[in-house]
């Protein structure tokens, strides 16, 4: 790693800030890393969802309870930086590793789009 200007902890903090900002429609700059995450209205389902988002990027299994055990951005970032290779969080902002790896599956079927509103979903039939 050549970019040592930012500590791993700061990398994680920034990533978490932008993620939280996106999830809760907040301004990232308004988030204080030492405030409890619940202060920003993060509920239990969103908290666990965010653990999954980190897993996707760093490709590691993390405890679901991470944000209860480490309830601020500063604390959880420190835990992550101390225990895992978090460099991937600095590389990409939101593109999960999994996606970058398997570009081979280019034939992925895109979701069908239906423009006719409720289209064929109305009406009954066996």
């Amino acid at each position: 790693m050549s970019n040592l200007s930012m500590s791993n902890q700061t990398v994680v903090e920034n990533w978490l800030k932008s993620q939280l900002a996106e999830q809760l429609s907040l301004d990232a700059d308004s988030i204080n890393v030492s405030e409890p995450l619940t202060r920003y209205g993060l509920d239990s389902i969103d908290a666990v969802t965010m653990v999954g988002d980190i897993e996707d990027v760093i490709d590691e299994e993390l405890p679901s309870t991470l944000f209860w055990d480490y309830p601020t951005i500063a604390k959880s970032a420190q835990f992550l930086a101390d225990n895992y290779d978090v460099s991937a969080l600095g590389k990409t902002t939101s593109e999960p590793i999994e996606e970058l790896e398997d570009t081979a599956i280019a034939t992925a079927t895109p979701a069908k789009t239906k423009s006719k509103g409720w289209g064929g979903l109305f009406g009954r039939g066996a």
């Binding site: 969103d46 599956i105 409720w118 979903l121």
Partner: protein
């Protein structure tokens, strides 16, 4: 004990889960009962009927040594196979099981008060649990005075050889099997009393109504302490005799893909979840991941436990039809713990029913069917399917207790052997809820669900609730619990002058809190108070607040008997007629600032049009 056990898809002769599992253990000892998916993806060793029966007998024998028959035992476990053995073990000993959410480190603030009030309400004397949960609770035993009086049993430590000492208590099927604490507020929890007969009768119902057969495979991540998880998720597979793959709810929420991958890998036919779960899949699963899924085996995607958003269903099928998910697979259902589980469900193989009704008529409790493509004044409601087997449903006027007309919205009343025996040691509430009679015909007794709806061409539609209950992400919240935790935050917040209610935004239920501020409170930092309220609600109730209004006194109206009129307050919020001190809302359209701006624009526009004419 009756020894006849028929194959999947037909009714068994057994009258209790004890008889059922005992017979399975004898007739299909190596049959695959359950597999736990570690971290949501790695399968554990399969648990056979023989092994489950042995574990259950050992646990029961231990309970019998303590003379526990008739006592109440908490089940406190992480999601998994241990809790299934503990549930069966309790039943084997004639002990009344109470499946409850396990406390977790870092969330004790939310889980402990409720756990304590359940222990007190049920007079639970035993807790079946794991070593780590026991240690966690031991750290807060000072705040848990009942802790010392209870007997804590780490079931992993029970010697399996004890199984030989088990003696069948010959439980009568009318005896209580478990208490389901899904209703009632934190302060006054209500334990729904379910008998062995309720459970086995209802399993048979679901086997028929949800189309389980010899080829069925269940995948479940719904928690064991929720009726949807316990009854359809875990007990129906045992009843029908097909394998069940159990995941932790966390493994699903962390990575919704895990759920759909397991359905793909194990060719799951039946899997259930509340509306939010289907939405979460849409938001989290990437197009590329969809390509590796195959959901064509999924015959019944149960959708219940919270209001169903038809748009989420439509988007789900649009997105996942690429990997074989069929519209016919969706199985919207309606139920409640007071009826063991489901009262209606969509029959297998048929299309879910969506109905377009006029909103204006709906507000007057009238059903007027209209064109779904209309852009205004139309509400699309997802049907919750048809009556489960012989379930009797009446739509009744909640005030007069008379049967409603055909196109009239009323309270949903249920009469069926699946209906529970009432609430544990609450005769008054039991009478009010479980013993309703139709005034005109004297039919009854019915269970009053508190939910409003109507039946159209045999299909049940839910339109709302009489009670002010707030259901967010499948969890019931009682407004007074939320109001009280808000009022404890700051002396300027008037006690008993707050209203918590939900509003619908983009098809989702969202929480709004209106709280009066004392007139003589002087200067308060309203921004700080609003932030405190949001934090407190996130921590205590685990809900993200959508809007907070600090209002001037006089906004919260009460009935003559002193009950808060939450509906009236909600209407004022929606129409922007509250007099506010300060407010905040995720959707700025509901904030005062936006409204005054909008008002100015409107009055300007009005002036322009009037001057023109």
């Amino acid at each position: 004990m009756t020894q006849k056990l028929t194959t999947s898809g037909t009714k068994t002769e057994q009258k209790t889960i004890i008889e059922l599992l005992r017979t399975r253990a004898v007739q299909q000892p190596k049959g695959h009962a359950y597999t736990f998916m570690i971290d949501g993806k790695k399968p554990s060793e399969p648990l056979t009927y023989e092994a489950l029966d042995r574990q259950a007998r050992a646990i029961a024998a231990q309970l019998q040594q303590y003379g526990a028959e008739g006592e109440r035992a908490l089940l406190l476990y992480p999601q998994g196979l241990e809790v299934i053995a503990a549930f069966c073990g309790s039943l084997y000993a004639g002990v009344i099981a109470i499946p409850v959410p396990p406390p977790e480190s870092g969330r004790l603030k939310r889980t402990l008060p409720r756990l304590r009030s359940i222990v007190k309400d049920a007079k639970a004397t035993i807790a079946l649990t794991t070593a780590s949960i026991f240690e966690l609770i031991a750290t807060v035993k000072d705040e848990f005075p009942e802790f010392e009086q209870m007997r804590w049993i780490d079931t992993a430590q029970i010697d399996l050889n004890l199984a030989q000492q088990w003696s069948d208590p010959l439980v009568h099927h009318d005896q209580l099997a478990y208490l389901q604490y899904t209703s009632g507020s934190t302060s006054t929890p209500k334990g729904v009393m379910l008998t062995h007969y309720n459970l086995i009768y209802h399993c048979h119902y679901l086997q028929q109504a949800c189309g389980y057969d010899r080829n069925s495979v269940s995948i479940t991540w719904m928690p064991y302490f929720h009726d949807y998880g316990l009854v359809e998720g875990m007990m129906v597979p045992l009843y029908n005799g097909h394998p069940c793959y159990v995941m932790s709810p966390f493994a699903f929420i962390k990575r919704p893909l895990n759920w759909l991958r397991n359905i793909t890998n194990y060719k799951g036919t039946h899997s259930q979840a509340p509306n939010f779960a289907y939405d979460l899949c849409l938001r989290k699963i990437k197009a590329k991941q969809i390509a590796e899924l195959d959901l064509s085996s999924w015959e019944a995607a149960g959708n219940a436990a919270e209001p169903i958003n038809p748009l989420v269903m439509a988007k789900f099928v649009e997105t996942f039809s690429a990997c074989g998910f069929k519209w016919e697979a969706f199985a919207p259902s309606y139920g409640l713990a007071e009826n063991t589980l489901l009262a209606t469900t969509k029959p297998k193989g048929t299309k879910p029913v969506l109905l377009a009704v006029e909103t204006a008529a709906m507000e007057r409790n009238q059903v007027v069917v209209t064109d779904p493509e209309k852009t205004e004044g139309v509400r699309i409601i997802a049907g919750c399917g048809q009556k489960v087997c012989d379930t009797e449903i009446a739509i009744a006027n909640p005030d007069t207790s008379t049967r409603c007309g055909e196109n009239e919205v009323g309270e949903i009343w249920i009469k069926d052997p699946s209906v529970a025996q009432g609430y544990w040691q609450r005769p008054d509430v039991t009478k009010a809820t479980f013993c309703a009679y139709l005034e005109d015909t004297k039919e009854g007794p019915f269970l009053r669900t508190g939910d409003m709806g109507f039946i159209h061409e045999g299909e049940l539609f839910i339109t709302g609730r009489i009670k002010d209950l707030i259901i967010i992400r499948g969890t019931n919240h009682y407004p007074q619990d939320i109001e009280w935790s808000v009022q404890e935050l700051h002396p300027a917040l008037r006690s008993d002058y707050g209203a918590a209610f939900s509003i619908e935004d983009k098809g989702e239920e969202r929480l709004v809190v209106v709280q009066e501020v004392e007139r003589r409170s002087g200067e308060i930092d309203t921004e700080q108070v609003i932030a405190d309220i949001r934090q407190e609600i996130a921590e205590q109730h685990e809900i993200q607040v959508y809007g907070v209004v600090l209002a001037k006194p006089g906004n919260i109206l009460k009935t003559a008997s002193g009950k808060i009129q939450r509906r009236a307050c909600r209407d004022k919020f929606l129409t922007g007629t509250l007099t506010t001190v300060a407010d905040w809302c995720e959707n700025p359209e509901f904030s005062t600032k936006f409204r005054s701006l909008q008002g100015e624009v409107e009055s300007l526009a009005e002036k322009l049009t009037t001057s023109k004419s």
